[in-house]
């Protein structure tokens, strides 16, 4: 530094001036120089050495008038050690060091000044890092709402999603919601914590055993025939309901042992009065040809998932069987839903019953009616029976054509010579334009109806007749009775059945269907399809059912025809149980719905898939597999001191507090809570109630609600190790530590066992919590959850597909972790983790069952790795098409660890209403946007990373190859040309491996430590990255290196 000063000074002294002055100056300079020599050990000055440089080169774009990229340098606090802008200075230094600033085309800072600037920044940063080494690190953080749920669940042994009523946790700058900085504890939070705690201890502790309700309905053809009216099941009607007639049902109330109890139906009030009438079975939302009551029970074909289009979105898949319970059901507690079912041979595939007709094959001219050869013709006179109809001049005419209520009915009998497809046509009088007359033809064998409005446009005058094609139907050889019905003044002359010509497209596709049906039938004979049971609980609404699935999908593995009882467990508080309003009398109110369907999904109504037989459903709630339940006996544990209330209470409180606080609790703290109990015990008639009050207080304590992250003075090693145990288990389980972790910590040997503990924690199913939570935050899978995909545009995007797409990401990531694969597998894999449902969605053949499986993929499938997964692709779309900007930002931030420039203020979104935009894809709109000068700079850096995904639409599917705007060839800012996602993956793995590795490390650290990374962590991060790379980039290596790094251990 002093050296540079000298240069400056020499320059200054070479000014032309009188000698005396020069001498004087020399003298002064002498003083100055000697001073500047001593200044070598002093820090350079911001005002003197740095600010002028910034002013000259930076403030024009990052100053008071303009803030390019949202960066303003003139107001930053130059005190890096104590100030608040250290991180911003750190970023500025990085950008300058990378040579990105000042940008090309702007005056560049000369070497000396540059060194002056960066030297100062570097030295100040070093000081700041030293200063913060000990103090800035993790601070205590509140449990996230998920962690809160998990913790309370483990503590109380009750599986209620306690946290879901809490206000949503915020997201930090880096998109993480488990950051201490965003985890607030507002008044509202605390009020909730108390409220939840009260409800939770009420659920855990019992003073008496609640009455269990247990209902069973058996289903079989006519099983209820001999049951007296007052003891029959109910019939649940209402708008488009499909109740199963009580004649096929036998409803019973069971006792604890599962035996039927006598119901006093004459009792006017009481729990079980009329309860049988309030039990029933409904099939609402099911297609009638997909289920059937038989002697053995009710047959259900494979379900077709319902579309998410209101109001039909409030249905379950078709067909589904619903056990309906009105009024008498609890709204709290565990429950079990038992379904007795068997896998039975599939039904014979039905063929499409009819097809629409394109145009009439019969023509009418002034000379007469010209029907194709072989047409079968029935004239008005050939009718078998007539109703409200007379025959006039060869026409069927209504007796009262003016009466809008009157329907004309006429029956025919048609002889068909061979099995074939026939187009049915009707010749009739000309119908006036405003007269919308519909005519229907009903066949009894096969049972089907064709319905079509009669042609209103008249052909050329003077023809007074017209012909309407009604539709195309397959008929077997033989006699087919049929009936026509119509209203109004139309006169019917002839009915024609025209056999389709050999080359007719409908005939061709029909033959294909027949062949396909045959194959399916053979498959069914092999029983290759595996039916499954899936269940949901909900409440009846006017237009459907608001429901949520619970428990897992159960495979039906018993031999065909063998009944099994499938038990599904759930917790009523977690599900949309109706809030009973006893004042409400309408027929649709207060109905609890338990739905079950065959989860071996098929895509369309013509495909029966596999078939199941259900002959009994049973609901039991609240359900207690043991009494008293674990939740109760864990708190009121067996103790020799049980008879001594005071001693026993102290034991209870100590034990509960130690588990809740995840720490040994000093006696004086226990005392505080014990004194509280002594104080309030007499406010309550029952002992347990007083205890509840203490436990509520424990659950409101910050020691329960916060993870202690601090290394404060005076903590014992054991305390520190216990904190480490918590840190570790909340990192890898999002869950409190288990017995073993506690034991290791208390023995002081946890630090020696970190490596094996990491492996054990990862292998434990609780690591699912980590995978889900980390994926949601790192990969922003929550965006997929929040996205409303346009289901009219993407009809295959059902709720089951949506759910499974998120599951794919979780299963894939967990698979990589469990099997300790390379972290680069996350970018590029030659396999996918999917189930049958997703395989059908993606169009990958040969996958069976609901389990997620490793399925090898070939390059043409264009799947493999996180960046080809639907959860990312749909989550970063506009719900219809892909969104290149969102995808680009995601790829840069999440995968490459770069921060793309933020959009400048006041830039409007691409306006979807702009008529120009309506014609263009988002990619094309962007191209226009990019052309404007002010936008070009940023978008040149950004867009290529998103445009490579253009092949994938808003649902995450590949666009058909014919779609325009498939250009996925881009030039990256580095100049590299990449064509499509496959090349992008190669590029990342080969050329950007360092960036991805660092990005993953940083994101994982951010998650593990619950705070954003900063300049002070750079060195540690670098060490982890280097170790990881040296050890071969395995996922578990990453976790282990991270956990054993000073950042995690301190």
């Amino acid at each position: 530094m002093g050296c540079k000063m000298d240069v400056l000074m020499k320059h200054d002294t070479s000014v032309n001036c009188p000698l005396w002055l020069q001498l004087t100056l020399l003298f002064i300079l002498g003083l100055f120089t000697s001073r500047s020599v001593t200044a070598q050990t002093e820090p350079p000055s911001f005002e003197r050495d740095v600010q002028p440089v910034l002013k000259q080169y930076c403030f024009r774009c990052h100053g008071p008038d303009t803030q390019e990229g949202n960066v303003r340098l003139d107001v930053l606090d130059p005190d890096l050690v104590k100030g608040i802008d250290t991180e911003r200075w750190h970023q500025a230094l990085n950008i300058i060091n990378l040579g990105e600033m000042p940008p090309d085309g702007e005056p560049q800072i000369d070497e000396a000044k540059l060194e002056q600037l960066t030297g100062w920044l570097q030295s100040e940063l070093t000081k700041a890092i030293e200063a913060r080494q000990n103090s800035h690190r993790s601070i205590m953080r509140r449990l996230t709402s998920d962690a809160y749920s998990n913790t309370l669940q483990q503590l109380l042994e009750i599986d209620v999603d306690y946290g879901n009523v809490l206000p949503d946790d915020g997201k930090s700058k880096s998109g993480f919601s488990n950051n201490a900085s965003v985890l607030q504890a507002t008044q509202l939070h605390l009020e909730y914590f108390e409220k939840i705690a009260r409800a939770a201890v009420d659920q855990a502790i019992f003073t008496e055993k609640p009455k269990t309700m247990r209902y069973r309905i058996r289903i079989a053809d006519s099983i209820g025939q001999n049951i007296s009216k007052e003891k029959s099941a109910g019939r649940f009607g209402g708008y488009v309901s499909q109740p199963i007639d009580p004649i096929h049902l036998h409803a019973e109330v069971l006792n604890q042992m599962g035996n039927p109890v006598e119901i006093n139906v004459s009792a006017e009030s009481g729990l079980y009065a009329n309860v049988l009438h309030n039990l029933g079975i409904g099939m609402r939302g099911s297609h009638k040809h997909r289920y059937q009551v038989s002697e053995m029970g009710i047959l259900l074909d494979s379900a077709v998932p319902h579309q998410e289009v209101a109001p039909g979105s409030w249905h379950c898949p078709s067909p589904n069987l619903k056990m309906l319970i009105r009024r008498d059901f609890p709204d709290k507690g565990n429950f079990v839903f038992r379904v007795t079912a068997a896998h039975v041979p599939g039904r014979v595939t039905p063929l499409p019953q009819s097809y629409p007709a394109d145009k009439a094959l019969t023509t009418i001219t002034p000379t007469g009616i010209h029907a194709p050869d072989n047409s079968l013709i029935k004239r008005a006179e050939q009718t078998a029976t007539l109703q409200n109809t007379v025959i006039q001049n060869g026409f069927l005419v209504l007796t009262e054509p003016e009466n809008p209520e009157l329907t004309g009915i006429a029956s025919f009998s048609i002889q068909t010579p061979e099995d074939h497809l026939y187009q049915m046509e009707v010749v009739h009088s000309v119908v006036a334009e405003n007269q919308n007359t519909e005519l229907s033809v009903e066949f009894s064998e096969p049972l089907l109806t064709l319905r079509h409005p009669l042609q209103t446009t008249s052909p050329k005058d003077p023809v007074t007749r017209n012909v309407t094609p009604l539709g195309i139907i397959p008929l077997s050889a033989g006699t087919h009775p049929c009936t026509i019905k119509w209203k109004g003044s139309a006169k019917i002359e002839k009915l024609l059945l025209v056999p389709l010509a050999k080359n007719h497209p409908v005939l061709k596709s029909h033959i294909q269907s027949v062949t396909r049906a045959k194959v399916l039938r053979e498959e069914q004979q092999n029983e290759s399809r595996k039916p499954t049971l899936q269940v949901a609980l909900g409440n009846r609404t006017d237009d459907g059912v608001d429901s949520q699935t619970f428990d897992s999908i159960k495979k039906m593995s018993s031999p065909v025809h063998d009944d099994d009882v499938y038990e599904f467990y759930g917790r009523l508080e977690n599900l949309p149980v109706p809030q009973v309003d006893l004042g409400e009398q309408t027929t649709l109110s207060n109905i609890l719905v338990l739905a079950v369907w065959n989860g071996d999904f098929v895509k369309n109504q013509d495909d029966p898939g596999s078939r199941i037989l259900i002959n009994q459903v049973e609901f039991e709630a609240p359900y207690f597999p043991e009494w008293p339940p674990r939740s109760h006996s864990k708190i009121f544990f067996d103790s020799p001191n049980q008879s001594n209330r005071e001693v026993y209470t102290r034991e209870i409180i100590t034990r509960f507090m130690e588990e809740a606080f995840r720490q040994p609790v000093p006696p004086e703290t226990v005392d505080l809570y014990y004194q509280f109990w002594l104080n309030i015990r007499n406010d309550f008639p029952q002992y347990e109630q007083g205890i509840k009050e203490v436990l509520v207080a424990v659950l409101c304590s910050p020691k329960f609600l916060y993870l202690a992250e601090a290394t404060s003075e005076g903590k014992s090693d054991i305390q520190k190790d216990l904190e480490l145990a918590s840190r570790l288990s909340y990192f890898l389980w999002n869950h409190p530590p288990d017995e073993r972790l506690y034991t290791l910590a208390k023995q002081g040997s946890l630090r020696d066992h970190l490596s094996s503990e990491v492996k054990r924690l990862i292998a434990d199913p609780r690591s699912w919590h980590f995978v889900r939570s980390f994926c949601d935050q790192w990969l922003k899978v929550y965006r997929h959850h929040e996205m409303q995909v346009d289901v009219t545009e993407h009809p295959s995007f059902t709720r089951f597909v949506k759910n499974d797409l998120a599951e794919e990401t979780y299963h894939f990531t967990r698979h990589v972790m469990q099997n300790n694969m390379s972290i680069f597998t996350l970018i590029d894999s030659d396999f996918v983790m999917i189930n049958q449902n997703l395989a059908e969605f993606y169009g990958i053949p040969g996958v069976q069952g609901t389990d997620f499986q490793v399925i090898p993929v070939s390059p043409e499938m264009k799947r493999g790795g996180l960046i080809t997964q639907g959860s990312f692709l749909s989550g970063h779309s506009d719900g219809n098409q892909g969104h290149p900007i969102k995808r680009a930002v995601w790829l840069m931030e999440r995968i490459l660890g770069e921060s793309p420039p933020p959009p400048p203020p006041n830039v409007p979104d691409l306006d979807p209403k702009d008529p120009v935009n309506q014609q263009l894809s988002i990619a094309q709109q962007l191209a226009i946007h990019r052309d404007s000068v002010s936008c070009r700079n940023c978008h040149k850096k950004l867009d290529p990373y998103g445009l490579v995904f253009e092949e994938y639409n808003g649902a995450g599917l590949l666009n058909p190859p014919t779609t325009s705007a498939q250009d996925t060839k881009v030039t990256l800012p580095t100049g590299v040309i990449v064509n499509g996602v496959a090349e992008m993956k190669d590029y990342i793995v080969q050329s950007r491996s360092r960036e991805f590795r660092t990005s993953l490390v940083k994101h994982l650290l951010t998650y593990a430590l619950g705070r954003d990374m900063s300049f002070a962590d750079e060195k540690d991060i670098k060490n982890i990255v280097e170790t990881l790379s040296a050890k071969g980039d395995r996922f578990q290596t990453l976790v282990e290196t991270l956990v054993t790094s000073p950042l995690f251990l301190r």
Partner: protein, 448 residues
């Protein structure tokens, strides 16, 4: 401070005549407000709903009927003219704004009746699951309710919650669950207005005391913890402690109310004995009288009132027969083309809203007419039959809250109704940037 409690002989009001109270006006409430150091004027919210939408004859097909019987006024801006339907609101022209074109985007595709569930929430009940959210009144009550005896009053003609997709309440809690509405006039009166309602307050007192004891214990424990913590952790714990202090203060405020006698008032004009199945007019009026009394005594500052349920459910469906001599139920009417009938009934409904405005204007507290500090929203969740767009809406009152009335304004589909809710909450000093699916605030200068 008034020491004398308000007394009402039970038998006196059972007779239906009521009593007139002439006790001196001593404002316990004002004092209590001062105790809390909050001298701000009370700001209030009131939302009134009618079901089944409103009559809007098609402008082209039924031009003449449109002029006469359309719910929305003719013309725009300040020069609009009421049709027969809303002409009853003419005297309040300066205190109201008619709003057209607004709706909840996520409910637009739904059957209009279901959209009723989301009128005050803007919640997403269209998707695969019914995900309703908190209603605007409950957001307001969270804050406005801190200063009053009760956070809110939730009223409806039918009471209870009904069932999902056909609720009988307008209010939904934080978790999006319906909050049961009350509908028995006398019970409401006895429960909320009588300090004699000892059962309730005793229970409440116990509940509050329990809460307070727990807070005290946790505070004590946390303070001990705080001493062991480093500087940064202390800052984090301070956030928790200050929230805990606020919880304690709120408990104290709530406890203070239990000892504060009701502000004196007269209930002589309220007829509690009306049979809704015989005289719907008086029935609704009596509820409105109770509501006005509630505001007058600062019992609460937030109320919702549902004047009937969607889809012909509940006995409000018979009101047209009973009150307007129309031989049709309300729901059936909404499906027919008897425009005049529908309009006559719409006018009847609006006359009750007009009565509410009359009363709020004439009744004053120490801050002037109640109306000037009360923001009212009147309307429905569909326009014409089952069409969940273009809700009929009237915003009224709140002169002191910065409202600039006197206009008929229309908005296009790009503005979600919840933008209005954001405006409303901010006008009530409930600082809000977003509500449900809002995208900003309403364009224009309805709110200054």
């Amino acid at each position: 401070m008034a020491q004398k409690s308000w007394h009402l002989d039970r038998r006196t009001f059972l007779s239906g005549i009521g009593v007139s109270l002439t006790l001196p006006y001593l404002d316990a409430m004002a004092e209590s407000v001062q105790r809390q150091g909050n001298k701000d004027i009370p700001k209030r919210l009131c939302c009134v709903y009618f079901p089944n939408g409103c009559g809007i004859p098609d402008q082209r097909q039924h031009a003449e009927e449109h002029q006469q019987w359309s719910w929305f006024p003719m013309g725009k801006g300040s020069n609009y003219t009421f049709t027969n339907t809303l002409s009853v609101l003419e005297p309040h022209r300066e205190n109201i704004s008619v709003l057209g074109g607004l709706s909840h985007p996520r409910s637009r595709k739904l059957l209009g009746h279901i959209a009723g569930d989301s009128w005050l929430t803007g919640g997403d009940i269209s998707g695969s699951n019914y995900q309703n959210n908190i209603s605007i009144d409950q957001v307001a009550a969270r804050q406005l309710g801190q200063a009053t005896r009760y956070p809110s009053l939730i009223l409806s003609v039918d009471g209870g919650i009904g069932y999902q997709s056909r609720v009988s309440t307008l209010s939904f809690d934080d978790a999006g669950k319906p909050i049961p509405a009350e509908h028995r006039h006398r019970e409401i009166f006895e429960r909320y207005f009588s300090p004699q309602g000892e059962g309730t307050s005793k229970e409440r007192r116990t509940q509050l005391q329990r809460g307070r004891k727990i807070v005290d214990l946790v505070l004590e424990d946390s303070r001990r913890l705080s001493r062991q913590l480093g500087k940064h952790d202390q800052a984090k714990l301070d956030e928790y402690l200050s929230s805990l202090n606020r919880v304690e203060q709120q408990i104290q405020r709530n406890e203070a109310w239990l000892d504060t006698p009701m502000k004196d008032f007269s209930a002589s004009h309220i007829n509690f004995e009306v049979d809704a199945t015989k005289n719907p007019d008086s029935y609704i009026r009596s509820m409105i009288d109770i509501m006005v009394l509630g505001y007058q005594t600062d019992l609460t500052r937030v109320m919702t009132y549902m004047m009937g349920r969607e889809d012909g459910i509940g006995f409000a469906d018979h009101f047209p027969r009973l009150s307007c001599d129309i031989n049709q139920g309300h729901h059936a009417m909404s499906h027919s083309t008897e425009w005049k009938n529908w309009s006559v009934y719409d006018a009847w409904l609006a006359s009750h809203f007009a009565y509410l405005l009359d009363r709020l204007k004439s009744v004053t507290d120490e801050h002037g007419p109640l109306l000037d500090n009360t923001l009212l929203l009147y309307g429905s969740a569909c326009s014409t039959t089952h069409n969940a767009r273009n809700y009929p809406l009237v915003l009224a009152g709140g002169q002191n809250l910065g409202l600039r009335h006197g206009h008929y304004q229309t908005f296009d589909d790009s503005i979600p109704l919840t933008n209005l809710f954001v405006n409303m909450l901010n006008a009530l000093d409930v600082k809000t940037e977003r509500f449900s699916d809002s995208t900003g605030v309403l364009p224009g200068n309805l709110f200054s």
